[in-house]
């Protein structure tokens, strides 16, 4: 059984088509990334998947339940962390979690036990009786996550969960996502952070202008653009980019105190760079070759689409 199945989702706002024929299938136990630039249609899609927005057409099934026909039953099976991780600012951290747990019909003893565990896991047990309005953005996001996972949902939706967070909060969020997945939750995460998607997800869809333009594993998406690579090189002396352009190097761009040169043939380019250094009396400080990243694959795809 698939955990999430969406077919032919379509949503427009006036003349603007936000989501155009999007279909997604997420297998049980998977961490699925939904990658796209700002305004690509990620949030609109996740809002339709979670029943917050009604699609113009298309169907969504969560754990085999239709979100439009059986909304209560489908929502019982999912936890959602909306964009901006909003929780009730006039309730305390613990009240937010306990009330949410009650919405999922958990009995008092279980919800109190779970709330305690999660507050400790998310390093908020010391502030459990404080009103959320006194919390920082990172702490609010952790409470938002606590509310979404308190009932151990089979499906967890996260809409840009780490945007604007400090390093500690970000680490806690990522660790919690991994933990929930190990515990059996299927995760769908939207992000424009490519590193995050690459590190977390077993499958990724790239959405651009409301359409899905590619779906595969991060590794396979990267491989699609494996025909070109780059070399990062630094010299003791200052040089200009023109010095580095030879037959095997198509482009050179500065990158801090280094140069990144792009090539289709890394072996030939390294030899060329060594020759350039010798000819110009340049001392090489460091040199490293690299294969394309998911980021490059993403840029290539979205620019080409």
């Amino acid at each position: 059984m698939n955990a999430i199945e969406a077919h032919n989702l379509y949503k427009s706002f006036g003349q603007v088509t936000a989501v155009d024929d999007v279909s997604i299938t997420v297998k049980k136990g998977e961490i699925y990334g939904f990658l796209g630039q700002n305004g690509a249609g990620k949030t609109t899609t996740i809002r339709m998947l979670t029943g917050v927005l009604i699609p113009d057409s298309g169907t969504v099934r969560i754990c085999d339940m239709d979100i439009l026909k059986q909304p209560l039953e489908a929502k019982m099976h999912m936890g959602v962390i909306p964009e901006n991780g909003t929780v009730y600012a006039d309730l305390t951290a613990e009240q937010n979690i306990l009330w949410t747990a009650k919405c999922y019909r958990m009995d008092r003893a279980t919800r109190e036990k779970k709330a305690r565990e999660i507050l400790i896991r998310l390093e908020l047990d010391g502030r459990k009786d404080d009103l959320v309005r006194t919390f920082s953005k990172g702490m609010r996001q952790r409470i938002s996550i606590a509310c979404a996972i308190v009932h151990s949902p089979p499906v967890l939706f996260l809409d840009e969960p780490t945007t604007g967070l400090d390093v500690i909060s970000r680490r806690l969020v990522i660790d919690t996502v991994r933990h929930m997945n190990r515990e059996g939750s299927t995760v769908l995460i939207t992000t424009h952070n490519i590193e995050e998607a690459s590190a977390l997800c077993s499958a990724i869809s790239i959405i651009h202008k409301g359409k899905i333009i590619a779906t595969d594993s991060p590794e396979k998406l990267r491989k699609l653009f494996d025909t070109s690579g780059f070399i990062e090189i630094s010299f003791e002396q200052k040089i200009t980019g023109r010095t580095l352009i030879t037959g095997g190097i198509s482009r050179a761009e500065p990158l801090g105190d280094k140069w990144r040169v792009y090539t289709d043939d890394a072996d030939r380019a390294v030899k060329d760079l060594a020759k350039i250094a010798e000819q110009n009396n340049l001392k090489i400080v460091s040199v490293a070759t690299s294969t394309p990243t998911l980021e490059q694959a993403f840029i290539e795809m979205t620019e080409g689409a």
């Binding site: 029943g51 909306p82 600012a89 009650k102 999922y104 019909r105």
Partner: protein
Amino acid sequence: MDLRMFIWSVLMVTEKDMRIYYYKGSVVIFGLLFPFIMFLTFFIGRNLDLILFFPGFLGMMLFFSASSTGPLITPWEKREKTYERLVSLPVVIESIILGDILSGAVFGFVITTLVWIAGSFLLHLPLANPSVLIAALFLGSLAFAALGTLLSSPATNTPSNIMMFSNLVRLPLIFVSGIFIPLSQLGTWAWTNMFSPLTYLVDLFHTAINGDGVYSPVLDSAVLISVIFIFVVAAKTIQQHNLLSGR
């Protein structure tokens, strides 16, 4: 849809509203202080019979208290962006509407009952029809809580806009509903009162307390029940449209 799950979702929305919105400044001002001040403004310095006026005061109290939380909840939650979280929980649009109405109705019912108890002790009010009093409290609180929820339904995330709009709707109603001038004494202006649902609530209180209602209690109750139905359907239609248009 599982009925028990649905009822639970309504109760959860009500619990959340009661915890958060009963203490908001605008609810205290427009739901509690405003009807008192309004009444005192008209009463002090005039040689008026308080017992004759008390049903009107009760009607105004229930009207303002029951309709004070509704206009605040949805715009507040949209501004704070908690509305999206709420919709993603195991609730449906009908649970949100009914939960909001129930929280407003409980607020109005409790406040007005306390005012009636205090009035009965202090003024030795008569009670001609206890069952009509219960019906008036029950139907009135639901009807005007539904009005409050309907007023908050247009898509906005600015609570002050909706509070202004709700007062624009609520204030004229108190002048044409027999609160300050009994229906029997409205004279040539009597025709205006039939368009206000508050008229029928005040009339029910008159029947209950002094036994001097103008319309039959059955008619008053039927109008209030119809009004509840109309307000709920209108609120649902607007909020459903908001959900479709993403507002």
